[in-house]
């Protein structure tokens, strides 16, 4: 039972068809002969499909290798371009619950490029404080390079008030970037109506292949490129375009958005069934993010996130995995070591509370049976994980007790 769709979701049938079709054809979209023109046509059709799916103009779509690259390009590109225009613009206002693709990029700019970072606090549900944003903007609007706040959080599913955020920043002419990797395909969204300067999306979160994504870049927005080369994609992002991946991305995006009206309520109903079921089986478990029942659009329709008191998330993950249920602790590092999530800590949880995190994320292949399987397994898994408890912190095994201290 796969309940980790926020990590990646199985490729959709239209995307797989587009991918295999385009992979069997040759041609560099930048070439000027027949094969090149054919490949270019496929890319441009995809660009139009993706633009339409996100309420953007086709010329605003810059293809990238995925969400991480799109976030890097947006944050670094905006920072460098704004600072080049006015060297005093070095402030970055950043939410404290960003995905690492944004957070680590911002921290890198702080360490290496002299950026001054203001971390915007969130409330206990993970919602960014508009008041703090207003205050931070008013404090030094002329020195502010950009604001970056994700559209929806990948761990706890909280949807941010993007329109209000861009309205605040617009009063001072400060551009806003948003990581919409989790929101795109799950929520109705419009780049044109959002007021954003840039917006990052990824194919494999919505049924497309891994390795392709896009940054929406408003037509009036200037970005300094991160990656140099042949000048593809408006000279903003060089590199030969992945025609097959892009075609598949477009097929997935078109499919996801076409079915959004039915799929979002279907997933929200499954989500609510899962929340109720887990609460019934493990009354101690605490739902994180927007409280249940979440108002429509306040929480990602496929996101369920609990903390389980007295146990470690990785024990729970291990036991659920043994029971055939694939979930996530919600955060991971390169060596695969779960750490207390910065998102949960920003929401005011203690490290011990945050250690017991488990995220269940639903997607297009999820069914009632998946939800019921999780509910059926969670009680026993929790009981055992709790027994394993904080074994990493305090041992009861009789040891030799060496050492003087």
């Amino acid at each position: 039972m796969y309940v980790d769709h926020a990590a990646t979701t199985p490729i959709s049938a239209p995307a797989l068809a587009a991918l295999t079709r385009e992979l069997s054809r040759s041609g560099n979209p930048s070439s000027l002969h027949g094969s090149g023109r054919r490949a270019r046509r496929s890319v441009e059709e995809a660009r139009e499909t993706i633009a339409a799916a996100a309420g953007a103009h086709a010329s605003e779509v810059v293809f990238t290798s995925g969400g991480t690259e799109a976030d890097n390009l947006a944050v670094k590109g905006l920072f460098w371009a704004r600072r080049a225009a006015d060297p005093s613009r070095t402030r970055i206002l950043c939410s404290s619950v960003e995905h690492h693709a944004v957070q680590d990029t911002v921290e890198w700019l702080e360490r290496h490029e002299g950026a001054e970072v203001v971390w915007l606090p969130v409330d206990t549900t993970g919602l960014v404080s508009l008041e703090a944003l207003r205050a931070a903007l008013a404090e030094a609007p002329d020195r502010t390079a950009l604001v970056t706040v994700m559209w929806a959080n990948n761990e706890v599913g909280t949807v941010q008030p993007v329109r209000e955020i861009t309205a605040e920043a617009a009063r001072y002419g400060v551009p806003v970037h948003s990581d919409a990797v989790q929101a795109f395909g799950s929520l109705p969204l419009s780049f044109a109506g959002s007021g954003l300067a840039t917006m990052a999306v990824s194919a494999h979160k919505i049924g497309g292949p891994v390795g392709v994504g896009a940054l929406f870049v408003g037509r009036a927005v200037t970005l300094t490129p991160v990656q140099h080369g042949g000048g593809q994609e408006r000279d903003i992002r060089s590199g030969t375009l992945d025609g097959a991946g892009i075609a598949a991305f477009a097929a997935a995006a078109g499919d996801a958005v076409a079915h959004l009206g039915d799929e979002a309520p279907r997933l929200a109903a499954l989500r609510d069934r899962l929340v109720a079921g887990i609460r019934r089986e493990v009354p101690e478990a605490v739902l994180r993010g927007v409280p249940h029942p979440a108002p429509e659009g306040a929480r990602l329709p496929g996101n369920v996130h609990f903390t389980f008191p007295g146990c470690e998330g990785d024990s729970l993950l291990f036991l659920l995995d043994l029971a055939g249920i694939e979930s996530s602790t919600g955060s991971a590092c390169t060596a695969g070591v779960p750490r207390p999530s910065h998102v949960l800590l920003a929401m005011g949880l203690t490290e011990d509370e945050a250690r017991g995190a488990q995220r269940f994320s639903l997607g297009h292949t999820s069914t009632v049976d998946d939800v019921d399987a999780v509910v059926g397994a969670i009680g026993a898994a929790y009981a055992r994980a709790r027994k394993a408890g904080m074994a990493g912190h305090a041992s009861t095994i009789q040891t030799a007790g060496t050492g003087f201290s």
Binding site: A335, G336, R384, Q398
Partner: protein
């Protein structure tokens, strides 16, 4: 049995896990994340818990067809092993961090979590043997290959810990055999270099590492008669038996090299002298533990024949040992038949009878028959 294979990313633990799988056990591989800074690559035979080690362990599990997880014990490791290592040095003693890790991390924190999660045993790539006596109690023995034998660093394990320990490399005739087996099994770690140094000191410079963590104040180097013959940058970074790095300008009267005989952390003094004064005849151990059920002589307080070993790959020497009880607390008195060199407080003495590990104690004080005063005393 349900077996948790602790996978370091090295060849020994990979082959041990393979043998556990082949023996029909239900095996899951777990790599322990022990460092807070795992983002480093390995250089040569040093370092551990790197991305590379984690990946090597992962690939070994892939080849064995067993699930793989990384568990974070970095906090426990820091408190129980790294901080303890620093504190012991700061107190003028010489701890063995690998032993501490076995005692408190691999066969305590990890074992406990494993048992709670439904496992029956923890399997590692240590070269040592656990056998059962007639009553089903575990006994710890040396590995078949004495050159690789690691029973010393497992000497701290108690009855309860041994009951749940599995060492599939026990009977392996040599390390070469393990490498050949890894090669046969298609394990990519077959030719990975052995690790030798302390895993949390990546460049192997223990002294430099300690100097960054322990307050060093310049102090005196004394000869055995108490006369000042030089100065040192801080007594804490020295080890009994050490010869290099004393930086004494003038040679000894007899022209022979001088060795650290004693460290006095309170006075910040280092006592040096000729090599023969390093020879120890008797030592007293505290924090005594028994590897399984103690032999009868332990209970009755009768002095018994044994061999004593004070470092991982040191030669065991013939000894007679007895247990003294003081207010219910055991102390171990070990008389060495042949004197032994380089014994420092804080080191562990492990006692054997034949191949069997009897138990261990932490050396509190040691005496040389050639020096009127205790050669080394607890500081």
């Amino acid at each position: 049995m349900r077996v948790l294979a602790a996978m370091s990313g090295g060849v020994d633990s990979a082959v041990a896990a393979a043998r556990a799988v082949e023996a029909g056990h239900d095996v899951v591989g777990v790599h322990l994340a022990l460092s807070r800074m795992p983002g480093t690559l390995r250089t040569g035979s040093r370092g551990c818990c790197t991305i590379e080690d984690s990946r090597d362990a992962w690939r070994a599990c892939d080849i064995l067809g067993i699930p793989y997880y990384v568990w974070d014990f970095s906090e426990r490791f820091k408190e129980d092993v790294v901080d303890d290592f620093v504190a012991e040095y700061a107190a003028g003693r010489t701890p063995n961090p690998c032993m501490r890790c076995n005692e408190r991390i691999k066969f305590a924190a990890l074992l406990e979590k494993a048992l709670a999660l439904g496992f029956d045993a923890v399997c590692t790539g240590h070269y040592a043997k656990v056998i059962e006596d007639a009553d089903g109690n575990p006994e710890l023995h040396r590995a078949a290959d004495w050159a690789k034998d690691q029973s010393y660093v497992l000497g701290v394990l108690t009855h309860e810990q041994l009951k749940h320990s599995m060492f599939p490399l026990a009977e392996t005739p040599s390390k070469a055999e393990v490498r050949a087996e890894a090669e046969r099994r298609g394990l990519s770690v077959a030719n990975k270099p052995d690790s030798h140094d302390i895993c949390f000191i990546p460049d192997g410079d223990t002294r430099g590492w300690l100097e960054e963590r322990i307050d060093m104040t310049e102090g005196d180097i004394l000869d055995v008669d108490g006369g000042k013959i030089g100065s040192h940058p801080g007594a804490n970074a020295f080890t009994v038996g050490q010869r290099r790095g004393l930086r004494l300008g003038t040679p000894a009267a007899d022209g022979k090299p001088r060795f650290v005989l004693e460290i006095r952390p309170k006075q910040n003094e280092v006592v040096v002298g000729p090599e023969h004064l390093l020879a120890i005849d008797e030592m007293r151990g505290i924090k005594v533990s028994w590897a399984g059920v103690p032999i009868d002589d332990v209970r009755t307080g009768v002095e018994f024949d044994c061999t004593a070993q004070v470092r991982a790959h040191g030669d065991p020497v013939a000894a007679r040992a007895r247990v003294e009880e003081d207010g219910g607390v055991q102390q171990l008195v070990v008389r060495l038949i042949e004197p032994m060199r380089g014994v420092a407080p804080g080191q562990t003495v492990v006692l054997y009878q034949g191949t069997r590990v009897l138990g261990q104690a932490t050396i509190d004080s040691a005496r040389s028959a050639l020096r009127p005063e205790p050669a080394v005393a607890r500081g």
